[in-house]
Each structure stands twice: as C-alpha cells, then as structure tokens.
C-alpha cells in the first residue's frame, strides 16, 4: 500500500466530485419528469399511452445501462441524419449523452416506484375525498400525493444511491468524473488498488450523505408515526 500516493490522489479525485454530482442530480431530476409522465400514462387507462409507457419501462429496465450509454454515444453518432439534426450540439457532447442515458434509465425505474406508490393509496381514502366533493386536482394534491410520496421515499432513496454508482459508467465515454479521473491516474501510476480505494471511499461518502438526507426527509414526512412528546 502506497499511502502517499493515495493521499496525493485525493485533490484530483475530489475535483471530479462536482461532475459526478451534476450527472446524478440532473439525471435524477430529468428522470423524475420522464417517470411522472410514464407513470401517468400507465395509470391513465388510455391503451396507446399505457402501451408506449410499458414498452419504455420494459426496454430501459431490461437492457444494461452500459449498453444504453454506448448506443447513445457511439451508436447514434454514426448516423448522418443525427449529426445533421438540431439535437447534435447536445448529442455531440459526452456530458449530455451520459445525462440522457442515465435519465432514460432512471426514469424507467422511477416510474415503477411512482406507479406502485400511487396504487398503494387506499381506495377508501380516494372515495371519501370524492364524496367530500374534491376536484381531481385537489384530490391528487391533498390525498394521493402525500401518501404516495411517503410510500415512495425508501425506494426512491435506493434509486438515488444506485444512480450515484451508475454514474461511474460515464467514464467509458471519456467523461472525467470520479471513476474517469481514477482510471486516468491509474494509467499513469499503475496503482490500481490504491486509487480505486480512494475513489470507492468518495462514493461511500456521497452515498452516506444521500442516505442521511433521505432518512431525514422520511422523518420529516411521517410526524404521525413519531411518539408524541
């Protein structure tokens, strides 16, 4: 073990943390939009919309993220039509290709979390709200959403942690996030063990913070489960 080398690699690896966080945050946020859309489509009762949403979820949950990243980065760019399209300024950049792949992937998983959470809202509560004369929007905001969010949080926390780890695959398309920088340092020092340990610790710390944050949110949203003081 070369402790000095490990210590020396810390600043370079730390400098890569913002990119990792950006990839995760943007992908999660945009993925949430995708997921809400897909979950809504599946619960809408509209056959075509539900079919399209299920197909999306099936494809992106059923194929490896690495394959999706390669298809989007190296695959799409082979078509002249894609390179001539107005999406090219975005697809040209490895950064946006990574976000697109991560977003589509997490969107598929998140939509299942959302769908499950909404379905878990007791039918009786919905009927009671309707009997009180609540409009659909008000019913969703006051009754369905609070219950569903509480229900979804633990699974959602899992998804965040999975995304932090999944973002390491962005290093395969030349992005210098934590894993990318680690691989570059290793290629110069050949110290695989030392550098990946430091990189691993950084991921651990990020996920530690993420898990704490989720737990705090859960605590905030379930005051009725706490002992009264």
């Amino acid at each position: 073990m070369d402790w000095e080398l490990m210590w020396d690699s810390v600043p370079a690896l730390l400098a890569a943390v913002p990119l990792t966080l950006q990839l995760v945050a943007l992908a999660l946020l945009l993925g949430l939009g995708m997921a809400a859309l897909a979950a809504w489509a599946r619960l809408s009762g509209h056959a075509v919309a539900a079919g399209a949403a299920s197909a999306y979820v099936f494809v992106f949950r059923g194929t490896p993220l690495l394959v999706q990243i390669f298809l989007i980065y190296y695959g799409l760019s082979q078509f002249e039509a894609v390179r001539a399209s107005l999406f090219w300024p975005l697809l040209r950049e490895p950064y946006w290709c990574a976000i697109l792949a991560l977003m589509l992937n997490t969107g598929a998983y998140q939509s299942e979390i959302i769908r499950g959470a909404i379905l878990s809202v007791p039918q009786g509560q919905v009927e009671a709200a309707r009997a009180c004369g609540m409009s659909r929007l008000l019913l969703f905001r006051r009754i369905v959403l609070p219950v569903a969010v509480r229900q979804a949080l633990p699974a959602y926390g899992n998804e965040i942690i999975l995304m932090v780890k999944a973002s390491s695959l962005a290093s395969t398309i030349t992005l210098l996030e934590i894993t990318g920088v680690a691989r570059r340092i290793i290629s110069q020092t050949y110290a695989v063990f030392e550098i990946f340990i430091v990189a691993g610790i950084l991921y651990l710390l990020i996920n530690f913070a993420a898990a704490r944050l989720i737990r705090w949110a859960e605590w905030r949203m379930t005051p009725h489960l706490r002992a009264r003081v």
């Binding site: 760019s77 490895p94 290793i186 695989v192």
Partner: protein, 285 residues
C-alpha cells in the same frame, strides 16, 4: 451515529485485509509463458469476427515461442489495465504494440524492441487541419534541435483550441499533454473509439501510431480518416515496440531478447510486418 462509524471502520478493515498482492515469479525454468495482448489495435493485434486474436504480434509471438522452446498462452487484456495485471502475475509478458519508454521502465522492463513506428496526427477528409504540411516528414524527439522545437511549437499553435483524441496511457497521450498546452486532450480506452468520435466530429484530430491509423482506414466507417503533418518518434514516444516483462523476470528477458534477435536475423519479423502492415517496420534490438 456510533454504529455507523463502527460499520465504516469494519468495512475499511475488510477492504484493507484484501491487500494480498501477488508477487513476481522467482527464478524458474520457463515452460509455459502467458502473453497478454489488447486485441483492439490492428494491425498489431486484433480480434476477428469469430473472437480469435489475430495480427502481427500474434503471429510473431508464435514464432518467438517456438524459438524459446516454451509453450505460450495468449490472453486478451484491456489496455488500461495491461501493466497492473502484469505486475499482479495474471500473465508473464505483454506484446501489445507497447513502446519501451522511460516512464514505463520505472515499473516494468522490456525485451526488444522488435518493431518501430512513428506517431502521426490524423483528421477527417475535408478538415482544414489537413493543409498542415509534413515539413519535415519526421522528427526524432530524442535530441530536439532548435528547428525541430519550432516545428512542434508551430503545430501546437495550429492545434490551439482544438480537441485531440488519444488512447489513454499511451505515448501519444503523454506527447499531447507535454507539448500541446492549448489543446484539449480527450482520452479513449480503445483506438477504434477515437476513430468513431473523429468521424462523428466530436474531436478535431487524433494522434496515434501511424499504423493504427492505417488500421482504421481499412474499416468502412473510418475509411476517410487522413494523416497530416509531421510524424514523430523517439524520446517521449519511446524507443520502439518491445515485449513488456516484470522486472524480476531477468531470465525471461534473456530468453525473449535472444528469440527476437534470431527472428529478426531469420527475416521472420520483416516478413510478418510486410504481411500485416504492407511495409517493413522490424528493427534490430
């Protein structure tokens, strides 16, 4: 909180206890030698459609092994882990278009060289960079004259602000990092992927082994890649392609060096080179 810290400590302890690192072989009679190649660097080494390893180095290896009277096993290994895995004893030698450089000599030793190829810049057909003249045709980086320095500086200013692709952990990546300060370097795991990104227009130019660029030009998707400007060799770019070995295996180095000299004298290296490259890149060690 206390339990979390305890958990973290236990985790760290488990990770550290796994530090069992394999060491180099002791002096022994070499009967079987495992040789690693990348399998993605045509015409040096590549993989055919059936998954079989082929190429100049695969054929040369067979000849060298017969001369050394050892049984050889060829393994495919990704480029970016090829030196660490050698050190860990996963195989005994590297023949993967690897140039012998001082940087690499810090961690491994080399037998050879058996071949030498200059590095070249390339861009897509129609790129304005192609107007950069090949004047002079070749620069040896070993002892740079004032004129040669000017050539490199001129190139650096012509490429300023451009994005250049190179394979990670290669002599070419080091060259760009050291001599082209205004250039954005993008590093790739495989040379094929540099070619794809050059075609896609994500990078303006690539810097690689002249022959590896030749390999790309033989593929349909990357056939329009065109070499431009001065080519470079020596110094930071190494002293030719050689067999990489663990420093401890002195006897294996002797075996390889003898076989490489014999193969060269018998004209085998030259013949295989002409067969795979179309020209002779064999050198005497």
């Amino acid at each position: 909180m206390k339990s979390t810290i305890a958990t973290l400590l236990v985790g760290a302890a488990i990770a550290l206890s796994a530090t069992a690192v394999a060491t180099g072989a002791d002096a022994k009679e070499w009967k079987k030698v495992r040789i690693a190649t990348e399998g993605a660097y045509m015409p040096w080494n590549g993989t055919d459609s059936s998954g079989k390893l082929v190429g100049f180095e695969v054929d040369l290896m067979k000849d060298l092994c017969t001369r050394m009277k050892v049984e050889c096993e060829l393994v495919a290994q990704d480029w970016d882990g090829i030196i660490p895995a050698l050190q860990q004893g996963k195989y005994d030698a590297i023949m993967a278009g690897m140039s012998a450089t001082d940087e690499r000599r810090k961690v491994i030793q080399f037998a050879g060289p058996y071949a030498n190829e200059p590095s070249a810049f390339a861009a897509m057909k129609g790129s304005p960079l192609l107007t950069i003249a090949a004047d002079p045709a070749l620069v040896d980086m070993k002892e740079l004259t004032a004129d040669e320095r000017t050539v490199i500086e001129r190139l650096a200013s012509q490429l300023k602000g451009k994005t250049v692709g190179a394979q990670v952990s290669t002599i070419q990546a080091s060259f760009v990092e050291k001599y082209m300060p205004g250039v954005t370097l993008r590093t790739y795991d495989k040379v094929d992927n540099i070619g794809l990104d050059l075609v896609a227009g994500r990078i303006d130019a690539m810097f690689a082994d002249r022959s590896a660029i030749g390999g790309l030009q033989k593929e349909g998707a990357t056939k329009d890649i065109t070499v431009f400007g001065t080519q470079y060799r020596g110094g930071i770019l190494g002293d030719g392609v050689a067999v990489g070995l663990r420093k401890a295996d002195k006897d294996l180095k002797t075996l390889f060096e003898k076989a490489i000299v014999e193969a060269h004298k018998a004209g085998v290296t030259g013949k295989l080179s002409t067969q795979w490259f179309g020209y002779d890149i064999a050198v005497t060690p």
